[in-house]
Symmetry: C2
Subunit: 462 residues, 2 copies
């Protein structure tokens, strides 16, 4: 395929995508496919001879598209949103076309420097101290692992007695990062939470004291701003003071909630973040930037580089002493040009329009919470400070019967999801089954929130 | 920006990209920019108000593009190639537009199953045994770390006595993976190489025996097919037999060279790969598929998942027992839909056209090697089995003076790169400075190889 053939197929692709966006709401959010069905329909061997692009694309429409889940659908209330806006898509087209691989400054000088610029822009928009330096990682999972590895290496020989701390509500990637960093389960402390699902600083204090008394060395404390189950916000200041007092690395996981701090009224939920050694927040969730784009901020860049730097002769360049070589700031050597999409998004919307969008989602969340609170047979199961509402249906005859309530709500959610109009997922809060309505897909309007609430109530009545 | 505005700007972007591809050869490969220059020209704060897309794109052309290194340029001879073909770009446009996040089967069933299908296609094209199961990782760095972590965890308590092995010529990501996996430097063995820069199995055997005698436990052996400095190929069978005999995990890093095994005549360089526990090769280097797309093959999927699986309630799905949830096959939770580009590439070209392309590069490499060999003042510094030729200029007056030869060749390479027509990088081979001419960018034709050789000889004569 030469450049003129690309031009032809590229125009067709743009039209297809524009139509897809226009008609997205008419599709099911989650497809009706059985495990193995798509795989079974595809050939078992690669073709020896090439096919015309029209044939391949027809097969995409016939065999792949019917099996796709549509994350951009306005009825997306599952997990957390993964927003990809048109300016972000244009940036991805451009960055991919340029084929830049941004491991070192010299391999794409503008990409490296634009990453420095947009990460500083975002830091300032979030109200983070200028002592933080940013780098784009793929995911919060990787960012948290990067924090754990840096914390571990900073300890030197004491790493063999390193302990790690997070709350019971911390994301599974935190426990995974501890494990991958080689911290055994018997040196990981899962700290209790209060009735808002936020970490109890007193419980952390006790755990730190007990470990110190036992000759162990607290190495890393991870707090969360906006937990996955319920968007609980740990008291970052109190936790940070405890971490600092024992010399532990303090990592704040604000993967979902953090970007909302572009709104000054949300910043109190991040109060104390300036005590952190590292912070992660994902523009690829709520901030209109396609996955993957995880913003990792770190105070001690030298400690970071000490853990991740390599300097074989074949990677050395004349500029190594004066530039950032981002290959030394994380796990992978190769890196895509991800700063471009964040730049296009920040410039296309401007901070004010992004704030307006996030405020709309948060207001819709509060509104849904108020509707739930007003219905006697429905229970809101956690505070809803951001866009997520946790709820369940409690018919009078099931009050107090937790296994029955779990089964009832799981079946209810399955019926709602089966409509294909919306997609919800669930969690457990204090052992109780809860449906999660995560409002934050950028195409979601008030009428979609009304609709999901209508579907839930209908399902509760049947 | 709504879908109609996207349509408009998308069409303009496609035309821009098609023109960019058409005119790519007229650009400098590496830009003439000084560190900090681009950063200094950009505003220090994000805008409060959005800008029209035309303004943003004009700023891209004015401020960013002049600072980009062009990896797709036909004069790209640096590092290894990172090929992005038009079908791959079309797939990336589509996958990005769909916004799929492929952490679990349910979050994109077709993406998960297509990944299973294309990874099996590629495995079979490479001649790898069907006992290998594939998963796409971002980079070989991450794939090798995944192998190390799996190997470590499989050892249980013996991990504290785990030793790790690779050759002196292994990629820096291997040593980095050992370090990140918590294997201290005093338990890492860097094995000597022969005069082709391939690992000496006898040296490995001695090291394994010495460690066993010292009460240590050999945990992982990493062999390379196609080293970064010179595309040396370790004797995979002999190394695999030694690794198996001591029960160590055997990982084969074929990041660059592996994909060439789609050509049967290259497969002898992978002889013995069937002894491996894991293999990595990168379609994003030579196989026309945009970065990132690293093919990781593993024999013991259960061991892999045991290390990387998480199963918090909020990620559980009804299908967990019958599907692959690729979130459990690596470090990040979130994953892009990367199988689509590999599918588009394999279907657009077909295996035969991909073989033809790789054979062209390999033949050009052999041809350049023969030209170097025929010139008395030029020295070819290593075998050139694939597309890479390592060479240096040896003027009679500098024979035997290694520091002077290094300075002379570094200056010579700087002059050649300063033309902007080509981009070369260097390495050290047995302590001697070598220029690397890596032939493999898909737009590179015979005339570009003639040109780089002409530029080198001209620079040698001045």
């Amino acid at each position: 395929m030469d450049h003129e053939a690309f031009r032809q197929h590229g125009h067709a692709m743009v039209d297809w995508l524009a139509d897809y966006f226009r008609d997205l709401e008419q599709r099911r959010v989650v497809p009706e496919v059985r495990p193995g069905e798509i795989r079974a329909a595809l050939p078992s061997a690669a073709p020896e001879l090439g096919a015309p692009f029209e044939t391949i694309f027809a097969d995409f429409e016939r065999q792949i598209l019917p099996g796709m889940t549509h994350w951009g659908h306005p009825g997306w209330f599952a997990y957390f949103p993964s927003n990809g806006s048109p300016p972000s898509l244009l940036a991805e087209m451009l960055a991919t076309g340029l084929g830049a691989q941004c491991m070192s400054w010299i391999t794409s000088p503008a990409a490296t420097e634009l990453e420095q610029v947009v990460m500083a822009w975002l830091r300032d928009l979030l109200g983070l101290p200028t002592a933080f330096t940013g780098v784009i990682q793929d995911t919060a999972s990787s960012s948290t692992l990067v924090a754990c590895l840096t914390a571990r290496d900073r300890m030197g020989d004491a790493a063999s007695r390193m302990t790690a701390y997070c709350s019971r509500e911390a994301h599974s990637s935190v426990a995974k990062a501890f494990r991958l960093a080689g911290i055994p389960a018997d040196r990981v402390r899962v700290i209790a939470v209060d009735d808002t699902y936020a970490m109890l600083p007193e419980a952390l204090e006790d755990a730190l004291a007990a470990d110190a008394a036992a000759g162990l060395v607290p190495g890393i404390v991870v707090a969360t701003m906006g937990t996955t189950s319920s968007t609980a916000c740990d008291p970052l200041r109190a936790i940070g003071e405890l971490a600092q007092a024992v010399g532990a690395w303090y990592h704040v996981d604000a993967a979902y909630g953090g970007t909302a701090a572009i709104c000054p009224e949300i910043r109190p939920l991040l109060d104390g973040v300036e005590l952190a050694d590292s912070v992660v927040t994902n523009p690829h969730k709520w901030l209109m930037t396609h996955f993957d784009c995880s913003a990792y901020y770190v105070r001690d860049v030298e400690a970071l580089q000490k853990t991740f730097r390599t300097s074989p002769e074949y990677l050395r360049t004349a500029q190594d002493q004066e530039v950032a070589n981002f290959r030394d700031w994380g796990i992978p050597l190769g890196r895509r040009f991800r700063a471009l999409k964040l730049w296009f998004v920040l410039r296309s919307y401007g901070a004010e329009e992004l704030r307006t969008l996030l405020r709309k989602h948060i207001a819709l969340g509060h509104e849904l919470a108020s509707w739930v609170d007003a219905e006697p047979q429905w229970e809101r199961m956690a505070p809803a400070p951001l866009g997520l509402v946790c709820l369940r249906h409690v018919p009078p005859e099931l009050v107090g019967d937790e296994p029955a309530l779990a089964a009832h709500n799981a079946a209810l959610m399955a019926r709602v999801n089966a409509t294909g109009e919306v997609f919800l997922t669930h969690t457990l809060l204090d052992g109780r089954y809860a449906m999660r309505v995560a409002i934050g897909a950028w195409r979601t309007e008030r009428r979609h929130v009304e609709r999901v609430w209508g579907l839930l109530r209908e399902a509760g009545e049947t």
